[in-house]
Amino acid sequence: MFSNLRRKYDFTDYILWFIGATLLVAILYGSYVTLSSGKYTTEQWLNFIVFGLAQGGIYALIALGYTMVYGILGMINFAHGEFFMFGTFGAFFVAEALAISGFLESNPLLSIIIMLAAAMSVSAMVAMLSERIAYRPLRRAPRLVPLITAIGVSYFLQYTARGFFGSGVEAFPNVPALAGSIAVGPITMQRSQIAVFAATGILLLLLWLIVSKTKIGRAIRAVAEDKDAAALMGVDVDRTISITFALGGIMAGAAGVMYGLVFRQVAFYMGFVPGLKAFTAAVLGGIGNLAGAVLGGLILGVIESVGPSLFLDGIGIPSPHQLKDGIAFTVLVLILIFRPSGILGERLSKRA
């Protein structure tokens, strides 16, 4: 609408394109040097990618919650990473009990399902409570108010967990059935990674079925489209939003179990960085778009795991893996500047 007004400020665009071009050249040069030096073998690259996909699957599960809440409320739920953290703690305590009783060793599949159920219910409960107490009264507040509230909720939950469960890092119990690795062609895959792929796939399918085939899913889509019209059509808007938060929490809880199985640790602060990265993934894919969140998550996971070796090693930066998070945040900044609608965003905006 105001594109003609924007024309006046072309100098900012030049600066932006200059930054973009510099980064692109650096990335291409770094990749070229790394690849031509042959420092890493093909298998290593494949392993990086598999690891990235597993991590990306976790991001994708968290990103779904961001995207659904954004789609329905138009609000960034800053506290979503904390739902994930609470889910991991839920799984952790169940897993510890199961490990002590020996059930974890004798019945690994059932144990993981119990862990999932625990994590999902904890996360969903925290998500619904947060929505009910903090967000619902602010539906019509000015834009920054819910965002600041979400920051508050995030810190409150994070430090509640610190007070409840202690400030140390706890080791997630070992699931013997998931230890070790399997060779698939040239790639060696950790069993836990395979479990992550399987579980992520099943959950995504279920979520897709719920959103696209059930009555609740239709209500969610209707409320996302237009709250007032949906209310006139007899949709209970408050309940639908609550369910959306619960679904987001369920996915975050599942992500928590995956995180526990792969990285084998829990701590009260663990929600913040994955939360921010999942948000990056959601924006990367096109926020408000379920398929986009998954795609964004996987892409971000791979970029993050391949990036330090590929881009930074070549330029000659010492200990590039320290800057792994830096790469993710750079992706976030670049996406927000150059293509805030994300990869799958445009098609949707035409439809809406």
Binding site: T12, P142, G152, F164, L276, I287, D325, G326
Partner: protein
């Protein structure tokens, strides 16, 4: 609004339930245990008992006030008792269930010690729980009795209760300031003495009561004064306040000046962020980046370490490095501002957060270690010197910080009333309309960003010099959140609000060391509560207040619920 239905005892029980849940939360988070050692009245009441009592008292007070309207005095008593009883019942249930359910396996604070602290002294088991519930009912009845009093007296009592608690908590501060004899009468080694508490309570009660009666008259008297007299009065008040501010370190002594310095750093930073968020409405969550840039420029330029840097730039003195630090922050504000300002609303918040993290990671990395010192940081940063003096003690630093606060205050208060300030507020209200009014969005936003960055850089440079050494860990996102919380509690866009917010959120937790551990937990809760119940802040800016109260109605200013329609997709 729905018509108000009569307040029933079920509603009272519900309020009590909320109080009880809050009490259970503070117990499990560890607050009760941490505060049990701190006495309010020595040997009589501890801080954790006061805290738990408040969780029964507050809901009972609310319940009784509302029941008074349709149930009369008896109804108020009943409602208060029910609310108090329910709140106490929840605490009693927690105390009884800790051991049988082995809650300690999950909650690290659910110790036998906590059970002892929750139940009344010397009691245990069911008996203790019963006494606890009775105590809850008594507290509830007391709260209800309070509602019988006339409004002025009730308010004075509550103010006095709060003030006495605060005075007891801030023993370390007051015992430094007040004469020794008075101190010996009021305070014991741990908390207030009984006589001291009673005398304080009555004195404050009387003062608060008189103040409430006299204040409207005083206001009217000032209103009736001729303009010239009023100006003289405000001049005298300003001079008096300044004199007090300059005398403060002498009164406070070394430790309290240290705290005052810290508050000062945050005031300067918050005055800067106030321009960005409060005036221009750009939520910047990466504000710590500019603070870090100011501090690190100061560090890198003045330290004798970092041989690589020294081979290019000679070691500078504090005063030579100060303008460069501030300039660097300003430049960073402009450079980061250009890409950031293309986005708006929520995206702006996230992108600034991303930038802040990137800068922190870069400083921390081995890649920039020769220039920035890496994870070990930089030491040997210069102190301000001049006129044969060197600012080493916190008192001496206080004056430098006070001067920078005054400069920051003067600049931002002038900016607010200028053409620039009005343009910022127009942008805050509605970007598109502002653009249509031919306000150059990018230019004005950059100006806001740069002003904020400059003040953060100034604060950072002093901070670096004060500390003498610097580690990247001091510059994480918590600092940004801290400054934001200061703004929100004080009132966005309001200059006095910034000072109030900084004293409440930075000064108080420093002084209450038991509290420090729970500071972030409380901040989170405070942010949410402020947004829910008092979004305009404690000392609101007049324009802002009007706007927020208007927005309680279905909102007219922001029709586009995502605010991103131009930049991003409309969500499914």
């Amino acid at each position: 609004m729905r018509t108000e239905r009569p307040f029933t005892l079920v509603d009272a029980a519900k309020l009590g339930l909320y109080g009880g849940i809050a009490a259970v939360l503070i117990s499990l988070v560890g607050m009760v245990d941490a505060f049990a050692k701190k006495d309010i009245i020595a040997g009589v009441v501890s801080m954790s008992q006061v805290l738990l009592g408040a969780m029964a008292f507050t809901p009972a007070l609310f319940a009784a006030t509302r029941a008074l309207r349709n149930g009369g005095k008896g109804g108020a008593l009943a409602a208060g008792a029910v609310a108090g009883a329910v709140a106490a019942l929840l605490v009693a249930l927690l105390a009884l269930s800790i051991a049988p359910l082995n809650l300690r396996a999950i909650f690290v604070n659910a110790t036998p010690k906590l059970v002892n602290e929750l139940l009344p002294v010397g009691s245990e088991g069911l008996m203790g729980a019963t006494i606890l519930v009775v105590a809850g009912i008594v507290v509830g009845l007391l709260a209800a009795l309070l509602t019988w009093l006339p409004a002025t007296l009730r308010r004075s009592t509550l103010i006095s209760l709060g003030a006495v608690t605060l005075i007891a908590l801030l023993k370390d501060v007051f015992s430094v300031i007040i004469p020794t004899d008075v101190g010996r009468f009021v305070y014991k080694s741990n908390g207030l003495s009984v006589e001291g508490a009673v005398v304080l309570f009555i004195t404050i009660l009387v003062i608060a009561y008189l103040w409430q009666i006299l204040q409207p008259r005083l206001n009217r008297a000032v209103d009736r004064m001729p303009e010239s007299r009023r100006r003289v009065l405000s001049f005298v008040a300003t001079v008096g306040l300044l004199a007090l501010l300059f005398a403060l370190p002498v009164l406070l002594g070394s430790y309290l000046s240290e705290v005052a310095d810290l508050v000062g750093f945050y005031i300067v930073m918050a005055l800067g962020l106030n321009v960005v968020v409060g005036f221009a409405g750009l939520l910047d969550l990466g504000y710590v980046a500019f603070f870090a840039i100011g501090a690190y420029t100061m560090a890198v330029l003045t330290t004798p370490e970092l041989p690589l840097v020294r081979s290019f730039i000679p070691q500078l003195s504090f005063w030579a490095a100060l303008p460069i630090s501030v300039l660097m922050a300003l430049l960073a504000g402009v450079f980061l501002g250009v890409p950031v300002l293309k986005t708006r609303g929520d995206y702006l918040a996230i992108i600034t957060l991303g930038f802040g993290e990137i800068i922190r990671l870069l400083v921390l990395s081995d890649a920039l270690k020769p220039v920035m010192g890496g994870a070990q940081g930089v030491t040997g940063i210069a102190r301000p010197e001049g006129f044969g003096m060197r600012a080493d003690s916190p008192q001496e630093f206080y004056y430098l910080i006070l001067i920078s606060i005054l400069i920051a205050w003067f600049v931002t208060s002038r900016l607010k009333k200028s053409r620039l300030g009005r343009a910022w507020m127009a942008i805050r209200e509605d970007e598109d309309v502002a653009a249509a009014m031919s306000i150059n969005l990018v230019g004005y936003k950059l100006a806001a960003f740069a002003t904020g960055a400059t003040l953060a850089g100034l604060s950072g440079a002093f901070f670096g010099s004060k500390l003498g050494s610097m580690v990247p860990a001091s510059f994480n996102v918590l600092v940004s959140i801290n400054v934001l919380a200061v703004l929100i509690v004080g009132g966005m866009g309001s200059l006095p609000g910034v000072v109030v917010g900084a004293i409440a959120l930075i000064g108080l937790p420093e002084l209450l060391r038991e509290f420090n551990e729970f500071r972030w937990w409380v901040y989170g809760a405070v942010l949410v509560m402020m947004m829910l119940y008092r979004p305009e802040g404690l000392w609101p800016d007049a324009t802002r207040e009007r706007e927020l109260l208007e927005d309680k109605e279905p909102n007219v200013i922001d029709e586009d619920p995502t605010g991103l329609a131009e930049d991003a997709t409309v969500p499914t």
